[in-house]
Symmetry: C2
Subunit: 164 residues, 2 copies
């Protein structure tokens, strides 16, 4: 009976200590890899009055007389969205995470995903933002030759909801 | 004794079946997340004669009269490297994975990592490649206004080894 009790104790240890420990380590490993997906730091929370919801901005490269683009990494919380706006010389978005919306004036909303490339032509009014169910991140390459972004009106709830 | 044998059998099953299964699933989960890091497909293996080792190229956006940059995602196998070359209008590299080397003519080799930004100025001869121990990937934003990349001589083994 001592032998059987000893074995039972070992089994209990395995069930209550070893298995949970392995699962815990596996969870940690999985989480570490998941967090590792962002290749650039999120940067600072934007305090400008041209969006609703939380957006983090990391300016990777500022345009100058040699490099005629600014490059930024932007991360959107679920539901965060920019106001309508215009890039005088255009912008390319490389979607790196999540699911978002992109809409040009007079057109239907496009649902965009990680891996998609969006070209916003010069002078075209548009907005982009995270979907209501998912955050969203992209690298934005904005041509700086013709001046700064022109900000327009806020995206209405109706416009945002129409995307579904 | 039957009771003890039964318990021993259960312990063996746990050791030989349950634990390896949990570890196997944990490994699969971890690998799935690790593979998930690339936000763009690797694209095609490059067949051009301007590099050594295997390099995958995915052209994300081709420069035109509106967008004056080409944007490409490049993935290098361990040890793969480009020949010396010049970008007439410059290039910006956003390192997205691994560890690589970057060297401008007459300067020491820089070791670059995921998250680093490299600006190759117009007209400066340079090369980049993966380190001998790690693959390497980046998004390249190449200004197209002044014509194509000018390819120079191969990077010698001596130049590559000097990086260590």
């Amino acid at each position: 009976m001592i032998n059987a009790q000893y074995i039972l104790l070992k089994m209990k240890i395995m069930k209550r200590v070893v298995l949970p420990t392995i699962l815990f380590i596996a969870t940690l490993l999985t989480k570490a890899k998941a967090q590792d997906v962002s290749m650039f730091p999120k940067g600072e929370i934007s305090t400008t009055n041209n969006h609703t919801g939380t957006i983090w901005l990391n300016e990777l490269s500022v345009g100058d007389s040699v490099f005629l683009n600014s490059i930024a990494f932007a991360t959107y919380a679920v539901g965060a969205k920019l106001d309508w706006h215009i890039h005088p010389a255009g912008q390319i978005l490389l979607i790196t995470e999540g699911t978002g919306y992109y809409q040009e004036r007079g057109k239907a909303v496009q649902i965009v995903h990680r891996g998609d490339i969006i070209k916003c032509l010069p002078g075209v009014a548009h907005w982009h933002g995270a979907s209501p169910d998912s955050g969203f991140a992209y690298i934005a390459i904005t041509a700086t030759a013709k001046g700064k972004t022109i900000w327009l009106e806020r995206v209405t709830d109706e416009e945002y909801k129409r995307a579904k």
